[in-house]
Symmetry: C2
Subunit: 332 residues, 2 copies
């Protein structure tokens, strides 16, 4: 952990206001400076309590962990990135994409060769829904290793590359399909108080959206959405008329959200939560992911995804129902 | 089933050689005429024994079933398609894509409104790997229903649309993630003997590929691949050097394939099989899907996908191992 201090200390010095003594003890620096983009790691058990953060400029991959209400950097490693600078836009441009991704599948020998991918590889969901909206192309953006003889400064075809001993350690933090990997050109760090403020602002945004939905206040609800909004099977117009229709059908609805991931990347905002939806006629559980873009001083939702929970997961979710209700109230 | 005879009989009359009397009894027509594109339905239990076939010109959806070695049409229904004619190429072109797809997820009320999607909807994997290679865009191509008051001649935004009573019947044939839905502008039917010939030709193609691979005859093996070949993490060159490398590592490999789906669409060929791969150092099971394009009088593989089997599925696969070996021998 000592090795991490240099980078953190440099950021600390550049902050205008810094609590504590001029040369802060290491523990304080690590607690006080938090990544501006990673505002909240969900406490939902089915999700991942670890988040990977890649700083392309620093060529580093950090692992952050949820620790109660806190976010803590627990480790950091050197990483190689695409040999071309800038944000990936198309197939074979040899650039590392910047954005909010999730680690999907695990690959190892003999399916993939050690000479290209080292001991292990994890696929990502590039292009994500933000990327698809911008018609970005390409695929096969992975987190993987490389033989120890290859320097981590060679430049990849767009993948994030770490050492073999590192990928094996990282594997222990990865829940397939769940662990976020956030890739930034440059990771900004902010003070804990600024981080708290930003997290609270966005928690309020999510909670206002939830309330407008639960109250079936369609007029308010639709202010949260961009007119170019799409969800599978819906555009803005059909989505709103669907909600109006449900309002006429259901005497009430209740929407509970678990404490969500809240992640920003430039003007992008991703919120992922475990959702319990109840009406006088039914109950369902699913994973809700919201993709929003900055619009003036607020955000507008441009995509919404929902995936049902499996039976097993539902049983666990019902067991957690009280704690979910409690945590959704926290954000009010 | 009587309603189906008109279409079939018309096709029968256009065939140059037709066994049996001038007016064949219905059972014979249905047995003798088989869809030229759907050459084999896999007998692998983890897959689907039913295949949906959509004829855009006829505006019909048929269900085919594997019945031992035979393929049989078991039912057929009217279907609506995109309001614009031709093959889908881009987002919002209101065309129904033509190709080889699989039904993925099931959606119902209240997630989707009855007014737009009727009682049930099933998503497809459009754009598939053939489509992505051609940079086709768009998403949300579904098989769904519509309120009974809406005629099936209105034209959709690209989806395949059937009646509410029909989608409920179709749901019984669907294994999510597995059931193929083949969409054609026009479905050609051929005689059983011609169908047998085509299936055998392609089975031989698959078997020759399997043998070249198993024999680690790289020179022959690479003749099956297009130079633009890609698999996750590989291009043609790195794929072949990976195989050469494995050859130097393993004393032997054995490749068993279950009886595959063999489906054609114009110049496209899709082969999907349960694969058991064994070397002197390990054994693994997975679903292998091959995407090939017609090239002269043969096919060249342009994409290859492999997905691991779950532990449960592996156990079942091991139990079926003998029958798999037997069926792979059948194709020799």
């Amino acid at each position: 952990m000592r090795l991490l201090l240099t980078g953190c200390a440099l950021f600390a010095l550049s902050l205008p206001v810094m609590a504590g003594p001029a040369v802060a003890p290491s523990s304080q620096i690590e607690t006080d400076l938090l990544p501006a983009s990673l505002l909240q790691i969900s406490e939902t058990e089915a999700f991942s309590r670890y988040v990977f953060l890649v700083d392309k400029e620093q060529r580093k991959l950090s692992v952050f962990e949820r620790n109660g209400e806190l976010i803590q950097k627990i480790t950091e490693y050197p990483a190689d990135i695409g040999k071309m600078g800038g944000n990936k836009t198309k197939r074979d441009d040899h650039k590392t994409p910047e954005g909010i991704y999730f680690l999907q599948e695990r690959l190892s020998q003999p399916k993939i060769p050690f000479s290209l991918y080292g001991a292990l590889a994890f696929t990502t969901n590039y292009p994500n829904l933000f990327d698809k909206r911008e018609n970005k192309t390409g695929s096969g953006i992975w987190l993987h290793a490389i033989p120890d003889s290859v320097p981590l400064t060679r430049g990849s075809r767009g993948c994030v590359v770490v050492r073999n001993d590192v990928i094996k350690k990282l594997a222990d933090y990865i829940k397939l399909g769940e662990t976020p990997i956030l890739i930034f050109d440059h990771v900004n760090y902010v003070s804990k108080s600024e981080h708290d403020k930003r997290r609270q602002d966005l928690s309020r945004f999510v909670e206002s959206w939830r309330q407008a939905w639960e109250n079936q206040d369609i007029e308010k609800y639709q202010t949260f959405y961009d007119e170019g909004f799409k969800a599978p099977g819906f555009n803005y117009k059909s989505w709103m008329s669907h909600k109006k229709n449900l309002k006429s059908k259901y005497e009430y609805i209740k929407v509970h959200l678990s404490q969500p991931y809240i992640v920003q990347h430039n003007d992008q905002l991703l919120v992922k939560t475990l959702q319990r939806y109840e009406s006088d006629k039914h109950v369902d559980y699913g994973v809700k992911t919201i993709y929003a873009l900055k619009s003036g001083d607020t955000y507008k939702i441009i995509r919404e995804e929902w995936a049902p929970f499996s039976q097993q997961e539902v049983a666990a979710a019902i067991a957690r129902e009280n704690s979910m209700t409690a945590s959704s109230q926290k954000t009010q």
